[in-house]
Symmetry: C2
Subunit: 151 residues, 2 copies
Amino acid sequence: MKEQQLNKILTKAQDICNHSGGRLTTKRKGILELMLLSNVPLSAYEITDKYNKSTDSSMAAMSVYRILDFLETEQLVHKLSSTNKYVACSHIACSHSHEIPQFLICGKCQSVKEIAIAKRIADELEQEVANAGYKLVNSQLELQCICEKCS
Amino acid sequence: MKEQQLNKILTKAQDICNHSGGRLTTKRKGILELMLLSNVPLSAYEITDKYNKSTDSSMAAMSVYRILDFLETEQLVHKLSSTNKYVACSHIACSHSHEIPQFLICGKCQSVKEIAIAKRIADELEQEVANAGYKLVNSQLELQCICEKCS
DNA sequence: AATCTTGCTGATATATCATATCATTGCTGT
DNA sequence: ACAGCAATGATATGATATATCAGCAAGATT
Ligand SMILES: [Zn+2]
Ligand SMILES: [Zn+2]
Ligand SMILES: [Zn+2]
Ligand SMILES: [Zn+2]
């Protein structure tokens, strides 16, 4: 990722937080940056290690969890519940509003692609769920895939 | 669940294991039965506790994990990776072959419904994934829902 | 500026989920 | 009975996540 692009994203993230009243502190920004620069999702403890090595600090995992909670609330990062890892949102600098994301997770290289599936498919899925007597409240999908490079 | 129905399922489970060469031992059967009788998914440790209380034994969680691995391989139970819990398959006694399951998980009462979505939707989803340059390898979905009772 | 309030972080403990490894037991076919 | 293999026991450790209370720092109120 280019320096310029990263800065653009971080600036936009700052805007988002300002708008919501949250504070993108130095530590929170540092964690977000680190996640943006990673090409695979990271566990909270991996994030902790990376952060501490990169800054010669010693933040406890507890703090990282709290920061991840915050960033998740701001939709700047997402949690992948199938792998218990966390990934920076791919659409921070986009102007469109954030839809419910779907994730394509490569089983070989662990890379993740965040997409938004066609509304038609989401609707059909919701209908299917309704047929089963349930009401869909969150259609975040985590799909086990193989990426182009690895296939 | 009626006694008779339970026995039918356990007999079918026995058949499935015989056919695959696996052994449905007393302990494995006990774990499966316990899971069939639960109306919510259980964690490995919850299963361990329930089993030990119900039989006055003291199986270690390690053994339960191994047994769950076995039962999963035989497709008699499924793991819900979004909650780290395990649930008995709803289609053990069915004659049809086991498709890739999808799970509707109620966020209030934790009840789970195992369904198989229309092939058309699965195909469309796969196409969507292909458009993104990925190849879908497993379309097990875990959908956050509200069930009829809770809504 | 001093104080207040709120939200952020530190620090520690503990709960929860999962795997590694080696020893022991018990079927199963010869 | 014996050998071989599958299942279980036993113990240790690793990985993920939450609870709780104390200290601190930034923005708001006086
Ligand atoms: Zn996103
Ligand atoms: Zn890949
Ligand atoms: Zn099933
Ligand atoms: Zn419910």
